[in-house]
């Protein structure tokens, strides 16, 4: 079969869900890459370690006090503010974040998310994921459609320990864009060169084909 999207292209597709005026939290890993594609948008990025209004990730001039939640040095924009972790999670849990983009390990058809613990490795940490999943107004998961050995990650039920129940609104993978509405997966878009049948065969859970299904525009 054809190759799906690279991590960068998944991030690019995810960036198209963001609009002017939004407050956005980007998770560690793939979602961080989304910040490379939002220069033309008037978006305020929140990082749970206590920054609102950061910009690009800096390659040099490391300052230990100016980092994002992934520990990366970031540009502090003129509109930035700093705050403690209780206030940060008041923003997150209190419903003040318009969109959060997180990585995923497994998503279930009902919107359950598992993204913090890998049983095979006996490892994982919660960090801010559980609060962000519960608190963001809209939660987008970016992830590989299958495991490295080709097993589905979009399942009838998550097998890994949950991050939060029924929290996912949209899944963007290397193969497809899938919306979750009322415990139902709806296939909206396929990646260039990927067929609907390919997506269905690599997805365990049942899925409705969206009435206006199309190829992703990147």
């Amino acid at each position: 079969m054809n190759q799906g999207l690279s991590r960068e292209l998944i991030a690019l597709r995810a960036s198209k869900e963001l609009h002017d005026g939004m407050y956005v939290n980007l998770g560690i890993g793939l979602p961080t890459l989304v910040s490379n594609f939002i220069d033309d948008l008037d978006i305020t990025l929140q990082s749970e370690n206590g920054i609102l209004g950061y910009g690009n990730i800096l390659e040099k001039d490391f300052d230990p006090d100016f980092i994002n939640a992934g520990g990366q040095p970031v540009e502090i924009l003129p509109e930035a503010s700093f705050f403690n972790s209780a206030e940060s999670f008041a923003m997150i849990r209190g419903g003040h974040i318009d969109v959060a983009i997180l990585g995923g390990l497994q998503v279930a058809a009902n919107g359950d998310l598992a993204n913090w613990f890998v049983p095979e490795r006996g490892g994982g940490s919660i960090g801010g994921a559980m609060d962000i999943a519960v608190g963001a107004k809209r939660l987008i998961i970016t992830m590989a459609h299958t495991t490295k050995d080709g097993k589905p990650r979009i399942l009838d039920r998550c097998l890994y320990p949950l991050t939060a129940e029924t929290c996912v609104d949209l899944i963007i993978t290397d193969l497809a864009v899938i919306e979750i509405v009322d415990n139902q997966l709806i296939l909206l878009e396929t990646a260039p060169g990927i067929t609907v049948d390919e997506v269905l065969s690599l997805t365990e859970a049942d899925m409705i084909i969206g009435t206006s299904i199309r190829e992703m525009s990147l």
Partner: protein, 230 residues
């Protein structure tokens, strides 16, 4: 109690005994009280409960595992799901030599805030339907499920600020308020490491982040730069 000022971190932490619970402020490189942690490492006291956002991400806290000074860690980020390098803490954890209580970060922050503010507990939707809910009371309110979470306090808090005046009023720099500002309220004895101590009146009252009432012991130290290692 008026704040006591010490000339080095060894003296600043001399009140800490084995079997203590200690909160450590900081989030990876920002606002970690590394000088105080190194003093604790050199002191060698044992059987500590460490309460910190993270351990083993380039922080000095992981040094306390070199001589097994920590018996229990309460954290939000301690074990990696990927990556080859393991911290001292992770190796000890996988050998069953140290206990870990993993808490969602927002719940961790709010439990500390509650502990410092005299609040007896709170209801949060975070963790409902997950392993975090095990052995916790679920309370349904306005057709939504919440977990009852209880306050968190410690014997000591080690925090790092940018500047202090001689009465312990503190200001932070950049993203280093994180857990420092709330942990300063939630321990019986709060020890602050700062980059500079100035005279009373030199810090603007409008700009004080942590009022001196929360601070017991103060020491000026050259900051130690740490970086995330994954």
């Amino acid at each position: 109690m008026v704040v006591e000022i010490f000339s080095n971190s060894k003296q600043a932490i001399s009140v800490v005994n084995s079997n203590s619970s200690i909160m450590f402020g900081g989030f990876v490189s920002a606002g970690s009280p590394s000088n105080l942690i190194i003093a604790l490492h050199n002191d060698g006291i044992q059987n500590l409960t460490a309460i910190a956002n993270n351990i083993g991400l380039g922080d000095k806290l992981d040094m306390l595992c070199e001589h097994k000074q920590i018996a229990k860690v309460i954290a939000t980020f301690a074990i990696r799901a990927s990556g080859d390098r393991k911290s001292n803490f992770e190796e000890q954890y996988h050998r069953g030599e140290v206990e870990l209580e993993l808490i969602p970060q927002g719940t961790f922050a709010e439990r500390i805030r509650a502990g410092g503010a005299g609040i007896g507990g709170f209801l949060t939707p975070t963790g409902v339907g997950t392993v975090v809910a095990e052995n916790k009371e679920v309370i349904r309110h306005n057709e939504k499920d919440y977990l009852l979470e209880l306050p968190l306090r410690a014997d000591f808090a080690f925090i790092k600020a940018y500047k202090a005046d001689k009465l312990g009023n503190l200001i932070y720099r950049g993203a280093s308020k994180n857990f420092n500002e709330i942990m300063a309220t939630a321990a019986d004895c709060v020890i602050a490491e700062v980059e500079e101590i100035v005279e009373v009146g030199e810090l603007e009252p409008d700009r004080i982040d942590t009022p001196g009432i929360f601070i017991d012991r103060l020491v000026q130290c050259k900051p130690i730069e740490i970086r995330w290692t994954s």
